[in-house]
């Protein structure tokens, strides 16, 4: 096989330390007649042109480039080979600049080492195979799971590029948590006002025809991989047609059955047919099958009688299963709050007038259970409110991380309380105060300068103890300096740690997507790729990945969309790098060791043939399975055992 060795002098960077003539002589001893050329700068346009010409003129079949680190110019030289009509994988680089010339003091020894390394590369390159990139057709559409801020933003961005988006939401309403909040930090923008334009775009905007919104739905199965997933989606019956319903709410009043309303944290009642809350979108009610008299076999249909539109209420609605092909999946299912009952010293669930921040948000919402009025259980305005920060956050006994958003909404509460009931005493019990960012300081300063606000820092949340005394609660505390005291609070607001959503475990299993030590979906890289999961083609947006505020969730949604728009391009096939693992099924014993070794879940098992199969799309070419296989049945392309052993053999000769 005619092999050409191209020795880059790199100006004097290499040639000062390594004697090219001696290298040539040492090569010729082992490989008589080998084609050897020195070039001033191979990476230059001129240098590349000269090598290209030389390759063609001399019918070179294998190439060794002795130059700098392959981490710098391997791709450059691979393209050069392609231009010369050679398969780019028929080349081996020798890093004589960074790893020999620049680090070896004696010229003789540097030359000797370079010769040895080049000989070993020549020996290796004989075994190189002409590898081909594969191309597969892709589906550019996406499945977005969760219709909160992050999911909405992602869906809208992808739909805006003309692709189809299937937007799956488990509840009957879109907009996530912030749409239920009257005002949002840092600048007291009204939650529904901020999100409604976005939701209107999703439902009726320019690209709405590209978005298939499935509420009350969940993803039950996903098969396939990046570029070609098939998802099964199960949708519960809503019993109201989102398209014909005009949202007039005439059906609600006649309904004879009531229950607690979970959309208002069970703080008020709703009917069997209801809207989650006033203004909820999509603007159509849903019927609770278990409560509805008609659906339970009784005689009623009062809602249908009251409905001014024909066929808007559909008692014959049933569960549907959809199957959709998509190229990528975005998880945007949001998060939950830590159960405050796990801190019994705070009295939540036992004593009256103690609420989580989420419950308090509903109190303050004008479409909430108290129409936006802050009232104690007795129906009076509280004269003192204690806000407990860091409930379960930054706490080795509960959640070690800081939830990042609580201080900011606590200061928002301070502001809203002051506005709603001026003169109310507010106590902030906190472990740490966290207010980063260029906008967040304003609410902080406002709270700090409020003469009715008192800040008490504790070292450990166990140093707080809440007991009920008459209509008021008493908080006994020991502050960080060890000083003890107590305050009365007519109402307590607890700021619980942000935790993974309850369904993330189930969804993680369906998507085979890893979760971190806390249960949040695990990102590919905390800083470089926090919007990518560890599975190629599955992206993360919003608090399913980590506690974060709306700004970050929106940005992450955009980032996820960006990966999809640049990775799955309409009209372009997906290129699959050939440096990956290949199973020789004749040798495969079916032991499945490789499946456990693969960090990308790229290997599956054919139970019929009892053989392992590598998915080319998911394989990243690390070669971990190749080393793991006890039968040597997996070949690591471009890093085969034979190639590596040839390199070792010659280096030690």
């Amino acid at each position: 096989m005619k092999t050409g060795v191209y020795f880059c002098k790199c100006g004097t960077n290499i040639s000062d330390k390594i004697d090219a003539e001696k290298v040539r002589d040492s090569l010729a001893k082992k490989y008589p007649g080998i084609h050897f050329k020195t070039v001033d700068f191979i990476c230059s346009e001129e240098g590349q042109g000269a090598v290209e010409k030389d390759l063609a003129e001399n019918n070179i079949e294998r190439v060794v480039i002795s130059a700098c680190t392959p981490r710098e110019h391997e791709n450059t030289f691979m393209r050069m080979l392609s231009r010369a009509g050679l398969n780019p994988y028929l080349m081996q680089m020798v890093n004589v600049r960074e790893q020999i010339a620049w680090v070896t003091e004696e010229k003789d020894r540097a030359t000797e080492k370079a010769g040895r390394s080049i000989r070993s590369a020549v020996n290796r390159v004989q075994l190189h195979e002409p590898l081909q990139k594969k191309e597969i057709d892709i589906c550019p559409d996406a499945l977005v799971i969760g219709a909160g801020p992050a999911g909405l933003k992602t869906a809208l961005t992808i739909a805006g590029s003309g692709r189809k988006v299937i937007l799956v939401e488990k509840s009957p309403v879109i907009g996530g948590m912030p749409v239920r909040y009257e005002e949002l930090f840092p600048d007291m923008e009204c939650g529904p006002c901020m999100l409604e334009p976005l939701m209107a775009e999703i439902l009726h905007g320019q690209y709405a025809q590209n978005i298939e919104l499935l509420t009350m739905a969940e993803v039950t199965e996903v098969i396939g991989s990046y570029g070609n997933f098939v998802a099964s989606i199960k949708q519960k019956p809503r019993f109201a047609d989102m398209h014909t319903c005009i949202g007039c709410a005439e059906c609600i009043e006649p309904c004879p059955v009531s229950t607690k309303n979970p959309f208002n944290c069970n703080l008020n009642e709703r009917k069997a047919i209801s809207f989650p809350f006033a203004g909820a979108l999509p603007n159509a009610p849903f019927i609770d099958e278990k409560l509805c008299v008609t659906l339970q076999g009784g005689q009623c249909k009062k809602c249908q009688e009251a409905c001014p539109v024909e066929n808007a209420i559909m008692f014959d609605d049933s569960e549907k299963v959809y199957e959709r092909t998509i190229g990528a999946i975005i998880i945007a299912i949001g998060s939950d709050l830590y159960d405050c009952r796990k801190l019994p010293n705070l009295g939540y669930g036992k004593l009256g007038n103690i609420y989580t921040s989420k419950e308090f948000e509903r109190f303050m919402a004008s479409n909430g259970p108290t129409d936006g009025q802050i009232r104690t259980a007795a129906g009076t305005a509280p004269s003192s409110i204690a806000i407990v920060h860091c409930v379960g956050s930054l706490d080795a006994n509960h959640k070690e991380y800081c939830s990042g958003i609580c201080c900011q909404y606590a200061f928002k509460f301070n502001h809203m309380i002051e506005k709603e009931i001026p003169g109310t005493r507010v106590y902030h019990f906190y472990k740490e105060l966290v207010v980063p960012g260029k906008d967040e300081f304003s609410l902080y300063h406002h709270a700090r300068s409020n003469p009715n606000a008192t800040f008490i820092r504790y070292a450990d949340i166990q140093d707080l103890s809440v007991s009920g005394e008459g209509k008021s609660n008493v908080i006994q505390y020991k502050d960080i300096s060890g000083k003890c005291g107590s305050v009365n609070a007519d109402m307590l607001i607890l700021c619980p740690a942000v935790i993974p959503a309850e369904e993330s475990g189930k969804l993680g299993k369906v998507l085979e997507t890893a979760r971190d030590q806390f249960g949040f979906f695990q990102e590919l890289h905390g800083r470089l790729d926090s919007a990518q999961s560890k599975i190629k083609g599955i992206y993360l947006a919003g608090t399913c990945q980590s506690p974060m505020d709306i700004q970050k969730a929106m940005n992450q949604g955009m980032a996820a969309a960006g990966y999809i728009l640049s990775g799955l391009v309409v009209g372009r096939k997906l290129e699959i790098q050939p440096v990956n693992a290949v199973v020789n099924s004749e040798r495969c014993s079916g032991c499945r060791v490789c499946i456990g070794a693969c960090p990308y879940k790229a290997i599956s098992f054919d139970t019929e043939k009892e053989k392992a199969i590598v998915n080319d799309v998911l394989c990243q070419g690390c070669g971990t399975c190749v080393a793991a296989c006890p039968s040597a049945a997996i070949k690591g392309n471009h890093f085969t055992n034979e190639e590596i052993l040839a390199e070792i053999a010659e280096v030690l000769r």
Binding site: T69, P70, R71, N95, R97, E98, Q99, I100, W102, V103, T104, E105, E106, R109, A110, E112, K113, R116, S117, S120, K534, V579, A597, P599, Y600, Q620, G621, C622, G623, T624, V626, A627, A628, G636, F639, N641, I644, L645, E647, I648, A649, V651, L652
Partner: protein, 142 residues
């Protein structure tokens, strides 16, 4: 020890592309000199390093082998370095019965920024193997 002063050991270094190989390049760009006794074999991930590569190296005359991986948690391929550590630990248990001192086979972590650490590890490795003297290829090598 004095007998080995003129002995130049041949050492094979298995480096993963993303961290330790980049660390070696970093030593290069900083032009920090180190002994030229280690010949580097680049693999994409330390998880690719088959223990047989190490045994073959010894069989074919290597006086030492050094395996360098990404730091725990930094692996470009998520967890290949953990498998590499596990394999290294098992491998060490195989070396002694063959009469190969375990000091001849070293494992460590080098990040892309740790050019200095790379130089230190290589220098130490060369000193260690030089002190041990040439490999005596065991009779019952597989």
């Amino acid at each position: 020890m004095t007998d080995n002063n003129n002995f130049e050991p041949k050492i094979i270094g298995f480096l993963c592309n993303w961290c330790s190989y980049a660390g070696a390049d970093k030593a290069g760009t900083a032009q920090t000199p180190y002994p030229p006794n280690v010949n580097v074999i680049r693999v994409m991930c330390s998880g690719r390093i088959d223990p047989q590569f190490v045994l073959k190296s010894f069989e074919q005359g290597a006086d030492g082998v050094i395996i360098l991986a990404c730091h725990p948690g930094d692996c470009h391929y998520k967890e290949g370095n953990f498998l590499a550590v596990q394999r290294y630990r098992l491998l060490l248990r195989m070396l002694e019965p063959f009469g190969i001192e375990k000091e001849r086979c070293r494992f460590d972590f080098v990040s892309a920024g740790e050019g200095d650490k790379f130089v230190r590890l290589i220098t130490e490795m060369v000193d260690t193997v030089r002190a041990l003297g040439p490999m005596k290829i065991p009779a019952q090598f597989p």
